[in-house]
């Protein structure tokens, strides 16, 4: 093992983190050890190697991620027990092979937004804009969600632009495009295998998707109750999507869903903050990413 220096960058935001981490690994000969996050959209990549290499990598990573967003850390001579406490093994780990399904990847795009509604709208726009496959849809912090897609670089570029445009209307957006991600980085990021998207668009009872995102349980209960009573919709998901935010999703015919979301928003906004959206024709990839069973209602 060449050197025992430890370095990391801690970045505020997933998209800047990807850029920084990719730059880190490409800048010098360091071994990535793990990706860690204490919460609130702070992500860290830890690397090991020679002091000089680690320093160079960390500097480059900070520059790529943005100096106002990234915190560098270089420990030239880690104290006794530090590496073990952090979970590093002392022997250099053989880089785990990238999963087999990633052989067709060329690029990764990431879009980070605030709130589940913005994330769902962004995902839908991305998947419809180009031939990309979603590989991550995750709540990563207080309010932030991140969506990652993969595919050919041209397609990913178009998709990320479309996702940013769709989400910008409702929330601040951070995005990034890794045209040629470092192969050691990909296995550490915990992407799930691409959701199988049956390309069929048909189905007579193709459902629309409505999402009501509210701040707090009281507003969510009121809103969901109003939604279910006002029109013929089926509740499909009810989950926590922020520190105090809950998202309630229903499906049904587009008219019913629109009416339900309208009634639900009105009821919930009397109590607390509300965000909502109706996706008239959600793509199958989006639905399987959300864990909602097929498009036949």
């Amino acid at each position: 093992m060449a050197g025992g220096a430890i370095g990391s960058i801690e970045v505020d935001g997933y998209a800047p983190f990807l850029q920084g981490a990719d730059a880190m690994l490409k800048a010098a000969n360091v071994q990535p050890v793990k990706v860690d996050s204490p919460g609130v959209a702070l992500m860290s990549l830890y690397v090991q190697g020679d002091v000089g290499a680690v320093r160079m990598a960390v500097e480059t990573g900070v520059a790529a991620a943005g100096a106002n967003r990234a915190l560098p850390l270089v420990i030239a001579n880690p104290g006794p027990g530090l590496a073990a406490t952090l979970g590093f093994s002392s022997a250099p780990a053989a880089p785990s092979p990238a999963p087999a399904w990633s052989s067709s990847w060329l690029a990764i795009g990431a879009v980070q937004v605030e709130g589940a509604v913005a994330a769902i709208e962004a995902t839908d726009a991305m998947v419809k804009a180009a031939n990309v496959v979603p590989i991550k849809f995750q709540w990563i912090g207080l309010v932030w969600h991140v969506v990652c897609v993969t595919g050919e670089i041209g397609a990913v570029r178009v998709a990320v632009d479309a996702g940013v445009a769709a989400a910008q209307r409702v929330s601040p957006v951070l995005s990034c495009l890794l045209a040629n991600p470092h192969p050691d980085l990909v296995p550490l990021l915990g992407f799930s295998p691409p959701a199988p998207s049956n390309g069929e668009v048909g189905g007579r009872r193709r459902s629309s998707l409505g999402v009501l995102e509210t701040r707090g349980l009281a507003a969510s209960s009121e809103g969901t109750d109003a939604m279910l009573k006002s029109a013929r919709v089926t509740p499909v998901r009810y989950l926590r999507c922020g520190l105090a935010w809950l998202a309630s999703m229903v499906t049904g015919e587009v008219g019913a869903v629109t009416a339900a979301i309208g009634a639900g928003s009105a009821a919930a906004s009397r109590v607390a903050e509300v965000k909502s959206c109706v996706i008239a024709s959600p793509s199958p990839a989006l639905l399987s990413m959300l864990g909602i069973g097929g498009s036949n209602g």
Partner: protein, 260 residues
């Protein structure tokens, strides 16, 4: 005092990360007299790692607990003899503050909470002679606790884990109560104790006083005759992991709905 047990700590923190036994990294043998504890708590992982490194290099101490508490807060706890721990905590706190003052780790949270939030990014505490309750809190050695008796329970809520540790020490030393566990959403922590009504009342007073003195008390509450369900939601033996059956101090049947 079985402080020699500090040698073979194997901690499983709540998110499943196993910490290696303290001796694995080549650390020096802990002298059996050493039982002081120091805690450095910071917002963000890098300040905490830097603090831990500085602490390990500054003196002959061992890692007691290094854990992400959630929502960006990370604690680094060390154990050793009082002189070493004092020196180490000073060094660790300075190192963490150096990193944390750039504001990267707190900027996102401040923005998300709407701006007006004064987070002190690094806090620390030092207990020269911690009570068994604190050792339970930090490493889960339940055998050191007196068995819970008495029908009253109470809690103290503090801002920050370091403040919680100090408050718990004061409570356990101030009256004959036993520590049942902690819960809460970081940076706010709730410490649950049980005992006779008078003992719990006294302990809560002392705990709140200590937390007030360091400016971090958020309130306390005495449940003199708690409902049976509340008692059932407390674990039989106190653990080092936070209580998930109590969310922010409320019994399970009022817990926020989560799905999936």
């Amino acid at each position: 005092m079985d402080s020699a047990d500090g040698l073979s700590n194997v901690m499983v923190s709540t998110d499943g990360n196993k910490l290696a036994p303290a001796g694995a990294g080549g650390s020096l043998r802990l002298r059996s007299g050493g039982a002081s504890i120091g805690v450095v708590e910071s917002m963000g992982l890098s300040p905490a790692v830097e603090a831990l490194d500085a602490m390990l290099k500054a003196a002959n101490v061992e890692v007691l607990r290094f854990e992400k508490l959630g929502l960006g807060w990370v604690i680094a706890c060390i154990i050793g003899d009082v002189g070493s721990v004092t020196a180490a905590v000073e060094a660790g706190r300075a190192a963490a503050e150096r990193l944390a003052k750039s504001g990267v780790t707190t900027a996102g949270v401040t923005k998300a909470m709407g701006g007006a939030l004064d987070i002190v990014p690094v806090t620390s505490c030092l207990l020269a002679s911690p009570s068994p309750a604190v050792l339970t809190l930090l490493r889960g050695a339940e055998d050191e606790q007196p068995a819970p008796s008495g029908g009253a329970i109470g809690y103290v809520e503090t801002m920050g884990f370091a403040a919680a540790v100090q408050a718990l020490d004061a409570m356990a030393k101030g009256a004959a109560v036993s520590f049942r566990g902690y819960s809460g959403t970081p940076p706010k922590f709730v410490l649950w104790i049980q005992g006779d009504v008078a003992a719990v009342r006294q302990a809560l007073q002392q705990g709140a006083e200590v937390a007030d003195r360091i400016g971090k008390a958020l309130g306390s509450c005495l449940l003199a005759r708690p409902h049976l369900e509340t008692m059932e939601n407390l674990p039989a033996k106190p653990t080092a992991a936070p209580l998930t059956s109590l969310v922010g101090g409320m019994p399970r049947h009022i817990k926020l709905l989560t799905a999936g």
